[in-house]
Symmetry: C2
Subunit: 249 residues, 2 copies
């Protein structure tokens, strides 16, 4: 039995806040266990890490201004998006699909203006979401003695499907991929190409447990202990398809 | 609180089997409710519907033979894949990315040789997985009086991420997309482009609840009632990005 429960009562997070302590306070009567998975929307991680830009302070480059005009976007926002990107894959129909410096392929390089207080402020992805996950895990261990797995999430669109799904952009203490290649199916046939993206499925499951208005950034999952590991593991970086294997870049 | 529980005891399914009755038998002491979501791996749906091909009876076309040689695949398997496809998007590095007749973009048009008894037999996707979901919902209603939402799933790869996630290829009684556009975030800002692919997130959550050897095709989800609807709804067809909006075909 897998279960996912959103935590109430996390306050608005500000740069420098101790996210681990805020999460522990919002656990109330739940006793954190090392078998749990703590799934956390990157927005609160980015806020705690000060990954916020004030558009009023941005001077757009010529390239950003040209792209913005073509896409109907704010040139200052496009400047921030370009600064977070190593490559722009598509710029069409009002959409900017980028490869971030981490290697994620997503709209607007993950730069987002919703859920940020202040009119002209936008939120970036954490600089190194796997490091963020490891730090949070370490902090929870210090505070509670338990070292649950951590998954840091964002909502990504998909190339051929409508709607967004939450995916893992960072993780620690988790086997992000469950590799079945070489194992056999129920009929004894060797499975050829089955690698489950466990970290992404955990992100998706957690998203369904949030309140209707999505104001709950932290979700606690139990029943997924077979994917939780003592060591921090390879992180969500292991989910990035190498460019040499990419058929759609 | 969202919870997902795999059902035990579903027997090997054969063409013509009454899948609804098999599911009801495997519920044992659980009382099915109209607020539940029944997530079911397409393999058992395809088997019940007889969507099985015997490779021994397939004569590959010239195109299938050429493609197979280039990709290192069985030409008879490639013939079946081509017969299930309206378009081949990529054929490289041993991988065949197809658009199925339903419009799904996935590897091998969903044709799969694992988990099928018999050496040379392969399984196709259901002909109309939304219709399969509606039929199963109706059958469960007849048998139990409850009409839960149904999600029929397959494991799909993703263009830029390693590993596969389960996604919805059919559904009934479910709002497959939760559209937040025009609603406001916690700071009163209008959300611009947030549409959650609820049906896909339910498929992913269910996959995590299966037994370690993945022999449990049916998973019961509770706590997702806000996405469940009395009417059958638009089905997983609503998740298909129209070709005119596709930047990566």
């Amino acid at each position: 039995m897998l279960s996912a429960q959103a935590l109430d009562g996390l306050p608005e997070v500000a740069p420098g806040d101790d996210l681990g302590a805020l999460i522990v306070a919002s656990l109330r009567r739940i006793r954190l266990q090392s078998s749990h998975v703590v799934v956390i929307a990157h927005k609160v991680v980015s806020k705690a890490e000060g990954r916020i830009r004030d558009l009023a302070a941005i001077r757009p480059s010529t390239r950003a201004t040209e792209l913005a005009a073509r896409l109907g976007k704010d040139p200052r926002l496009v400047e921030v998006i370009l600064s977070e990107s190593s490559e722009v894959l598509r710029a069409a129909r009002g959409v900017l699909i980028c490869v971030t410096h981490h290697g994620f392929v997503c709209a607007n390089a993950g730069v987002d203006g919703s859920n940020v207080p202040g009119a002209d402020r936008v939120l970036l992805l954490p600089e190194d979401p796997d490091r963020s996950a490891r730090s949070l895990r370490q902090r929870l261990r210090e505070l509670t003695g338990a070292a649950p797995a951590i998954v840091v999430t964002d909502s990504f669109g998909r190339a051929w499907r409508n709607g967004q799904c939450d995916v893992a952009i960072g993780c620690a203490g988790l086997q992000p991929l469950d590799d079945w290649r070489g194992r056999t199916d129920a009929n004894g046939r060797v499975l050829k190409a089955t690698v489950l993206a466990v970290a992404d499925e955990l992100a998706a499951a957690a998203d369904l447990a949030r309140a209707k208005d999505r104001s709950q950034p932290v979700v606690l999952i139990s029943g997924a202990e077979r994917f939780v590991s003592g060591e921090d593991g390879p992180g969500a970086r292991a989910l990035l398809r190498p460019e040499r294997d990419d058929l759609f870049r």
